[in-house]
């Protein structure tokens, strides 16, 4: 299999047709400094996945310490209390800012948006390239923070001052600042990137593509970018103030100098809460794309889903202090936030119901992407309902800072980041690499991951309900928590983590092997109706379509099983 017959990467095709008068890009221009949205998307994808290796390695190390306190962790060594805090802090920070956001929004957003709306690229290709470059610098700054004297920042991803603002408390003078700088750079990268996603999605749609004809994933990424851009500002202000406190001895958050530590909390969580919806929305977008294709059904209530998503986004700005119920805010304010927080369950529940309703009357095929999408719904359902315990202020008095919180947010974040990524990767792999992944390996990977994930986090609900607090490196220190039963739950979680990690090897093998040696993909392997599958070659060339063949749209993205038609799908760009 040397020269595939259908040239999946489309290199030989019509550069002269473009009439742009530019030369064939060199290797450096194409892979190191690309402006093509597909390549930039790939850069974000691989960088995000590399950062996930760090985040995964860190959790491996600290979970080994928790299950077997004092152990010399293979490939790591002993975990000291200072290192434990740094591992926990950086695991969380990496997974949210350097894995979930770049992969779900920047990688898939970049790759998919122009293709799905029938455009040849993002509207600002060079700004796009700059966003990635800033993002890459942020990765390097974060990695550097772990190797400076004093070690990496260990004040938890929430970085509450005065611990985070004062190195006499944190003991990590350089690590703390580098950590904040890395986060700030990541924010800058996504602000710039967001401009591209929003403007391109809103403006550059193919002729004939009305608002309700846009695939749901495009709107989800667009709304997520808007949410991000409108919520991150206060935290950028806070980050500047924190850096000044750390390095210049200002006292924005230091009570000894007239500052207020709770101010940071408000600035952080005003962003922090919308941020979880920023990452949730793209994941639900992937689910929408996949369940429609593999149940051969139109999305149930497209408009309703869109409005509930916008409603959730707006409401997400009014719930932030549920992270601060017992932190010293005025207790009367807690009542306001418990009302808004419990109510936000309504639009999210509606979205879940609408996705499930899409299955009704369908003809469901259990391919690997479909399994992932369904797995998302099942896991997020548990994550969502357990959130009610935490949003209800009276119950949160007990649950705050326990492993119950941790299990809740992993039952939401894991579907978002992990399951969402695999849903997208297994579904769009043919588009990205022109070849097909192996279905059997894919299914093994899915079941191994899905089952072991539940075995990690179910025990953590129990531990949390029994009063186990977070961020403590050895629970044997507390008699109520040092019982053999509780320790065996910790061991179960750690062993399940090792199983989870092992199954990812299956995926990595499948991924890299299929990239080079998988069967060549047909042009539209899943018989989907959306535009990304209509490019002349399955793996689109530069410009995606020849300029004289840019698609025009005649209908919505999910016209499956239309009565009276022979084929069970009706592509958006076919006139009739």
């Amino acid at each position: 299999m040397s020269a595939p017959a259908s040239d999946p990467h489309g290199h030989g095709h019509g550069h002269d047709d473009h009439g742009h008068g530019h030369h064939e890009p060199t290797f450096i221009e194409k892979f190191v400094f690309p402006t093509d949205h597909k390549y930039i998307g790939m850069q974000y994808m691989f960088t995000g996945m590399a950062m996930a290796l760090f985040g995964g390695f860190f959790v491996y190390a600290f979970r080994m310490q928790l299950a077997f306190p004092g152990i010399n962790v293979p490939l790591y060594g002993h975990v000291s209390p200072l290192e434990y805090n740094a591992l926990v802090t950086n695991h969380g920070t990496i997974m949210i800012f350097w894995v979930a956001m770049p992969v779900l929004i920047a990688a898939f957003g970049n790759f998919l948006i122009p293709l799905m709306i029938g455009a040849d690229d993002m509207v600002f290709p060079r700004l796009n390239r700059l966003s990635y470059q800033i993002f890459l610098v942020s990765c390097l700054v974060l990695i550097t923070s772990w190797f400076v004297p004093g070690g990496g920042f260990g004040g938890a991803w929430t970085a509450y001052p005065p611990l985070s603002s004062n190195s006499e408390y944190s003991l990590t003078p350089l690590g703390s600042t580098l950590w904040v700088v890395a986060v700030a750079l990541e924010f800058a990268a996504f602000l710039l990137g967001g401009i591209n996603f929003i403007t391109t999605a809103m403006n550059s749609r193919a002729p004939g593509m009305r608002a309700m004809d846009v695939p749901m994933i495009v709107w989800m990424i667009c709304i997520a970018s808007i949410l991000f851009m409108v919520s991150v500002g206060p935290l950028i202000a806070g980050a500047i103030m924190l850096i000044f406190d750390q390095q210049l001895n200002t006292g924005f958050f230091d009570p000894r100098q007239g500052g207020d530590p709770v101010l940071w909390q408000h600035l952080f969580w005003f962003f922090g809460h919308p941020e979880v919806y920023v990452v949730l929305l793209p994941a639900t977008g992937f689910v929408a794309e996949v369940i429609t294709v593999f149940s051969r059904k139109k999305l149930f209530g497209y408009q309703t889903i869109l409005y509930t998503t916008i409603g959730t986004g707006v409401l997400s700005f009014f719930v932030w202090a549920h992270h601060q119920f017992i932190s010293g805010i005025d207790p009367r304010m807690a009542n306001v936030f418990t009302v808004t927080t419990v109510l936000i369950s309504i639009p999210i529940a509606e979205m879940m119901f609408l996705y499930i309703a899409t299955l009704y009357g369908g003809s469901i095929r259990y391919t690997t992407p479909m399994l992932w999408a369904l797995g998302f719904i099942a896991t997020f359902l548990i994550g969502g309902v357990t959130g009610i315990f935490l949003g209800a202020s009276g119950a949160d008095i007990y649950f705050h800072d326990t492993y119950f919180v941790l299990a809740h947010f992993h039952y939401t974040f894991f579907p978002i980041a992990f399951i969402g990524t695999f849903t997208g990767l297994t579904f769009w792999f043919p588009k990205m690499f022109g070849r097909m992944l192996n279905e059997t390996l894919g299914k093994i990977h899915f079941w191994g991951t899905f089952i072991s994930f539940n075995c990690i986090f179910m025990p953590l609900f129990v531990l949390g309900a029994a009063g186990q607090h977070r961020r403590i490196y050895n629970y044997n220190h507390f008699p109520e928590l040092a019982t053999p039963d509780m320790q065996s739950l910790r061991v179960m979680a750690t062993v399940s983590l090792l199983v989870l990690i092992s199954f990812q090897v299956v995926f990595l093998f499948n991924f890299f092997y299929s990239m080079f040696r998988g069967p060549i993909a047909p042009r539209n392997p899943w018989k989907s109706g959306t535009l990304e599958w209509t490019t002349p070659t399955v793996c689109p060339g530069h410009g995606n379509w020849p300029p004289d063949q840019m698609p025009t749209v005649y209908r919505g993205p999910y016209e499956y099983s239309v009565p009276g038609r022979e084929l069970d799908y009706w592509p958006q760009n076919e006139p009739n």
């Binding site: 455009a119 993002m122 403006n203 991150v232 500002g233 200002t250 924005f252 007239g258 500052g259």
Partner: protein, 192 residues
């Protein structure tokens, strides 16, 4: 690479792509400055003693700088007017005047105002009021400088008759920077 994607020529919302992008950028900037200002306001309300510190900001310099910025916004508007008429050279000239306003603003702030205040002992660490003062005014000044640099590139292109639509877009950004100052000025200089 100088080519523009076909995507940039479309406008499903009716708003040109560049202008739409600037509006979204401004939306995020509103929240950044909003965060700084809300934090300042919450502190100020709870700390009446800040008035003693605030008494030492120089209203005359603040007023002069406000006039400088307002005038520069005027020249930006005039530049847009000429850009609309297709006169790139005149548009570029008025943009250069705007940049001149920015340079004046920054020179007065960094050359006269801040050195004077620092020499009198009002540094970023001398009190919470001054911490906020330097951060808020500093972040604003950074936006003025970056804006001036970008405006320089736009002015250069406009003089060659290229990309005249960017004159309006950079003008929008400039008005925003001006608007932020209109909020900062009373909070930092007048409220005593």
């Amino acid at each position: 690479m100088g080519f523009r994607p076909i995507a940039t020529t479309r406008s499903a919302t009716g708003v040109p792509t560049g202008k739409l992008a600037v509006w979204w950028l401004l939306a995020s900037e509103v929240v950044i400055f909003g965060g700084v200002l809300m934090s300042y306001l919450m502190h100020r309300i709870n700390h009446v003693d800040w008035t003693y510190e605030a008494a030492h900001t120089d209203v005359r310099i603040g007023t002069f700088n406000t006039l400088v910025l307002l005038t520069s916004s005027l020249t930006a508007v005039i530049a847009h007017h000429y850009a609309e008429k297709g006169d790139g050279v005149k548009a570029s000239n008025y943009l250069l005047l705007t940049i001149g306003g920015a340079v004046t603003f920054a020179s007065i702030k960094f050359g006269i105002e801040w050195p004077t205040e620092i020499a009198h002992g009002f540094t970023i660490t001398s009190s919470p009021f001054w911490s906020f003062y330097y951060v808020a005014a500093g972040v604003h000044a950074a936006h003025v400088i970056v804006g001036a640099i970008i405006m320089g590139f736009v002015a250069y292109d406009a003089r060659q008759g290229r990309d005249l639509h960017r004159v309006e877009n950079v003008g929008l950004y400039w008005h925003f920077v001006d608007l932020v100052w209109i909020f900062l000025f009373p909070l930092l200089y007048i409220a005593k």
